[in-house]
Amino acid sequence: MASTTAATVRVRFFARYAELVGRSEAAVSVPLPATVRDVLHRLRDDVPGARALPEQPLAAVNLKQVRLDTSVQDGDEVALLPPIAGG
């Protein structure tokens, strides 16, 4: 893809997802424009353990839950959230 700009996002894994991936965070670079879904695809290529994650996990960008088609910018923090079980 002929993109002149790339974004590097910090991806964080929590709870069971951190166990599945075998780490609690990763840095991922994607050509812009990009969505959370693009980040997920790149993650599966770059981080072997990430293939164990579900296809459509809950996600947050910069501390706010978002849909997977939400766009990301350079420096964003993307979090992948297992089913919420608080309280």
Partner: protein
């Protein structure tokens, strides 16, 4: 003040945070680690969280509650770490001039927490297994330390 703690939840602190001369009704909810007949020998639950997001999500959630019940005063504390069966993982206090507001606001907060606040729990069972709780279904058993 943080909504997260690793200490026991103090009911007195929650009550002090919401007490007001104009509030005649206070509703408190305590969620405790259960080990009943439907559980499988739960000795404790390990609570973890996306802590920064928990704080911002609680702030949004309390702002939402404040819009719905402007006269209510609400305090909430969620505990993280290993919590033994019988101990509280969450405490919510809602005080309001009238009891209906207090009940409704308190109920709203716990329902929203269950939906929005990124906290996870792993059951520790007497047989040594550890099981992530998935409220969308029953927890799926998994060998210990995997």
């Amino acid at each position: 003040m943080s909504h997260l703690t690793r200490e026991r939840i103090s009911l007195d602190a929650l009550l002090a945070a919401v007490a007001s001369p104009g509030c005649g009704g206070t509703c408190i909810f305590l969620g405790t680690v259960r080990n009943g007949p439907d559980e499988h020998g739960v000795t404790a639950i390990e609570y973890s969280a996306y802590e920064e997001m928990v704080e911002t999500e609680f702030a949004r959630l309390l702002a939402d509650a404040g819009t719905r019940w402007p006269d209510a005063r609400i305090a909430v504390r969620h505990r993280l770490g290993t919590i033994a069966a019988g101990e509280a993982s969450i405490g919510i206090a809602a005080a309001a001039p009238h009891r209906a507001q207090a009940f409704d606001a308190c109920r709203f907060v716990i329902e929203e927490v269950k939906k929005r606040v990124p906290v996870w729990k792993k059951e520790m069972r007497v047989d040594g297994t550890e099981v992530w709780v998935d409220p969308s279904g029953r927890p799926t058993a998994k060998p210990s330390h995997v």
